[in-house]
């Protein structure tokens, strides 16, 4: 399991899925978020793995 953080929410997610699958499963668009693990940007095709934490960052801004 790996800790996933997005905005003010946190989840424990099994680590056998990719970042892209995680983003899609959360109902988000892969175009709208980036994933950072331990402060480093990670590719959407990377598997979550079972250690550390993954933070999703919204990239959409404006008004």
């Amino acid at each position: 399991m790996v800790k996933v953080i997005f905005r003010n929410a946190e989840w424990q997610i099994p680590g056998n899925i990719t970042i892209r699958e995680l983003i899609t499963n959360l109902g988000l668009n892969p175009q709208s978020v980036l994933a950072v693990r331990d402060g480093k940007l990670v590719n959407n095709e990377t598997r979550l793995g079972n250690q550390g934490e993954v933070k999703l960052i919204s990239v959409v801004s404006g008004g």
Binding site: N29, Q31, N43, E45, I57, S58, V60, G62, G63
Partner: protein, 318 residues
């Protein structure tokens, strides 16, 4: 599926740009962004090494990334931060200003940063100005944009900058284009461009050197380069039309990589080949009050916005 390798070396890639079929590692992505920005600046004749550039910095990922890139490329680029007075429950303007000042002090301590407070100059914050307008909160983003454009131009003129550079990315531009197409706003369509030349009646040249990049690429650049920026959205942007348009475009992009890129650049090419013949941009003239360029007779939109407050102030003095 395994992790994509960087196209330029054997390292793991950190970003895969499906619209370019290009996956890159940190080092080569940063290099790619800076090289593409330089080419885009040259292609659109945005500015030269001897230009004095005023970069409008908001504390967000795009403008701070732009400032860093321009300085790295060796351009003379000073910053302008406009404090809009958006505090609400999250101290948005105060925190945005802190990110800008930290960037200027920590990363490029020798550059100049101009800080301007709207309430100090005009006696009203942006929420107060927008609140007085018909449409109130719904009009917030248009009032905010109007004031920012006016002030960027005013400061650039007064301090002798030859170009104002903003951090608009391709998603921003595609959303504006989408909105203008939905309403067939011909005059706005003709005006939309990565570079707007100086017009001789008070409008300083404006450039958008990052209009070639998707929003996730400018965010990736900021993260890789350890640029600390405000990640919260403006509290007044909730439900904004531009965000809904971006959502639609991103949904299309996800199913069909390259949709946004093609939409924007096909439009620019069509514009070069006389898109919308019969329409023309309105002739600009100086505003009677502030002297800045306007397409309207008499006062510009900014001075019309401020006129009720000025009139009330005059009545108070009588």
């Amino acid at each position: 599926m395994g992790v994509h390798r960087c196209r330029r070396c054997t390292a793991d890639s950190v970003i895969n740009m499906r619209q370019h079929r290009l996956a890159l590692c940190e080092v080569h992505f940063v290099e790619w962004v800076e090289n593409i920005t330089f080419s885009f600046i040259k292609k659109h004749h945005m500015f030269e090494a001897d230009d004095r550039i005023l970069v409008a910095v908001s504390g967000g990922k795009d403008s701070l990334s732009l400032w860093r890139i321009l300085l790295k490329l060796g351009f003379q680029a000073d910053g302008l931060y406009i404090d809009l007075g958006i505090e609400a429950e999250c101290s948005y303007s105060k925190r945005s200003g802190e990110y800008v000042e930290k960037f200027a002090q920590d990363i490029f301590p020798n550059v100049k940063l101009h800080v301007l407070d709207i309430a100090d100059i005009y006696g009203k914050t942006i929420p107060e100005m927008a609140g007085r307008r018909k449409g109130g909160r719904k009009k917030f983003c248009s009032v905010c944009g109007l004031v920012k454009r006016h002030e960027m131009n005013r400061v650039a003129r007064e301090l002798g900058y030859t170009v104002v550079a903003t951090g608009h990315n391709l998603d921003d531009e595609a959303a504006v284009l989408f909105g203008n197409v939905l309403h067939w706003e011909a005059e706005y369509l003709l005006r939309q461009s990565p570079v707007l030349p100086a017009d001789g009646v008070g409008l300083v040249k404006r450039a958008k050197p990052l209009a070639r990049f998707y929003e996730r690429e400018t965010a990736a650049y900021a993260i890789i380069c350890n640029i600390e920026y405000i990640q919260d959205e403006c509290p007044f942007s909730v439900g904004a039309t531009s965000l809904r348009l971006k959502e639609v475009l991103n949904s299309m992009e996800n199913g069909s990589p390259g949709t946004k890129l093609q939409f924007y650049f096909s439009f620019l090419r069509a514009k070069e080949h006389s898109l919308l013949p019969g329409y023309s941009r309105p002739e600009l003239r100086p505003c009677e009050k502030c002297g800045q360029a306007t397409g309207a007779p008499g006062l510009c939109a900014f001075c019309r916005l401020l006129e009720p407050a000025r009139a009330a102030s005059r009545r108070g003095q009588d």
